[in-house]
Symmetry: C2
Subunit: 278 residues, 2 copies
């Protein structure tokens, strides 16, 4: 049997909820797989292979494009609960009865909604650079970062993921090189799909009475990971998640912004293994 | 050569600053030792042996009674900077040129002052259940916990260290059993010494303009560890430390109060090793 990795795993397809989901799976089989939920404007080719292949040493990793994104069919739903409904259908269509669920940025918001809607499907949650419903975005630089122009354009992702420090920029350049090393990448997210994702973000961050109450019902062990100064989803949101989830561990890394786990991949992988394998 | 542990290490003495310091050292020699700064009303016999012996598997551990505490001579100083001055004299009197410094509760405040006064003496900081100068104590239950009566009296330490959950109480009872297993313990802290420590706490927590500025000058790698709901030094103080220290990692554990590291000893020891051995 060929052992695949981030670069070699073939893109496969599965139908569920009327959507043809594109996905890849690779890594060590036989345990609980980890399903990865990507960020705003991201496809399964936006993950840092250092992270996905690092995870794959100890567990099966499943990357996928949710509805309306990348190589999957369908439309981006208007809310994260609806996106979670599609993710749940996708996971079940693979015949998986129990999964660890990792989400980064809006992927972390979707991961929480998966846990709310299908608690028995989820073993543990890993929530990176994300926030609760009604997130505190007062200090976010997201609008500036995503509306600026970059030369080359893909340097948007250095600004969106990494600390403006020299160390952050160096890691960012390495990330882009690794990301582009795979040839048959999923199509980039269309402007229409991105606009709908943005509406879902606005909707999710509405502040209504009791907006955090749902967190007390997510009893899954959760690892919350945040950067020291997250320019997209401010760091206080990681603290808020830890304080309101009944069983969460929080790790905040030094010198890092939104993609703290890309900034400290070895340390994150060690922390993640301690959490998932406990 | 006999390998000592928490229970068997002999109490030794060294003179510095006119104080006769009582201390014990044990564990794996040859690397950077870790010097442990204990909490309010604590002596070197208040550490959980699971932690000290766990640390000792990978590094030399140094426990000591600071001036006016336990088996050491002298008076408790009126401020933590003065307590740090004595700790620095103690460390240098042992002929140590570079140490990792762990502090728990007010020991963490003293550890910060050690780093401020003797930056070259310190390699890395581990700050557990502590806060900065000008700490936010609005939600603290410290006064209630330390003024209540307990039967037996040593159950004060279950209330002071552990979560009120069933898990917290169970770990607390085990902690007391381990603590009392050593016969030749340091004398308990006198009421006079405790009163002076309390005055130092009040002084340290005064809120003045720029009270957090000193943190930007502590460039040492720091691991900040806090409990989910620290009833003595509220959890927000761990977040504040991480946000103001230039190079700090924060870990907050679920279901835990002040002694989060006693609540999750194996996980803490793994996290601590990843940090100290990096």
């Amino acid at each position: 049997m060929t052992t695949h990795n981030h670069y070699t795993a073939p893109t496969q397809f599965v139908e569920a909820n009327g959507i043809r989901f594109a996905y890849r799976r690779f890594g060590k089989t036989g345990g609980v797989p980890i399903v990865m939920n990507i960020h705003f404007r991201g496809t399964m080719d936006h993950w840092d292979p250092v992270i996905t292949d690092g995870l794959a040493e100890r567990r099966e990793v499943i990357l996928f494009d949710n509805a309306g994104v990348g190589a999957s069919s369908g439309e981006v739903p208007a809310t994260f609960p609806d996106t979670a409904r599609d993710a749940i259908a996708f996971i079940k269509a693979l015949g998986i009865g129990k999964a660890d669920v990792l989400g980064y940025s809006i992927g972390g918001k979707i991961a929480q909604e998966i846990a709310v809607q299908a608690p028995d499907l989820v073993r543990k949650l890993v929530l990176v650079g994300t926030g609760p419903r009604g997130a505190d975005t007062a200090a976010s630089k997201s609008a500036e970062i995503f509306s600026a122009t970059y030369d080359p354009p893909e340097h948007l992702w250095i600004a969106a993921h990494f600390s403006p420090s020299a160390a952050g920029r160096a890691v960012g350049l390495g990330y882009l090189e690794r990301k582009h090393r795979r040839g048959d990448r999923s199509p980039e997210v269309s402007e229409t799909s991105a606009a709908t994702q943005y509406q879902a973000i606005i909707k999710s961050n509405e502040k209504v009475d009791g907006v955090l109450d749902y967190l007390s019902e997510i009893h899954h062990p959760a690892l919350v990971v945040h950067g020291h100064n997250d320019l997209i989803i401010p760091t206080i949101n990681g603290f808020t998640l830890q304080q309101h989830l009944p069983n969460a561990q929080l790790i905040i890394y030094p010198d890092s912004s939104h993609a703290s786990f890309y900034q400290y991949p070895e340390l994150f992988l060690a922390h993640d293994s301690l959490f998932l394998d406990a």
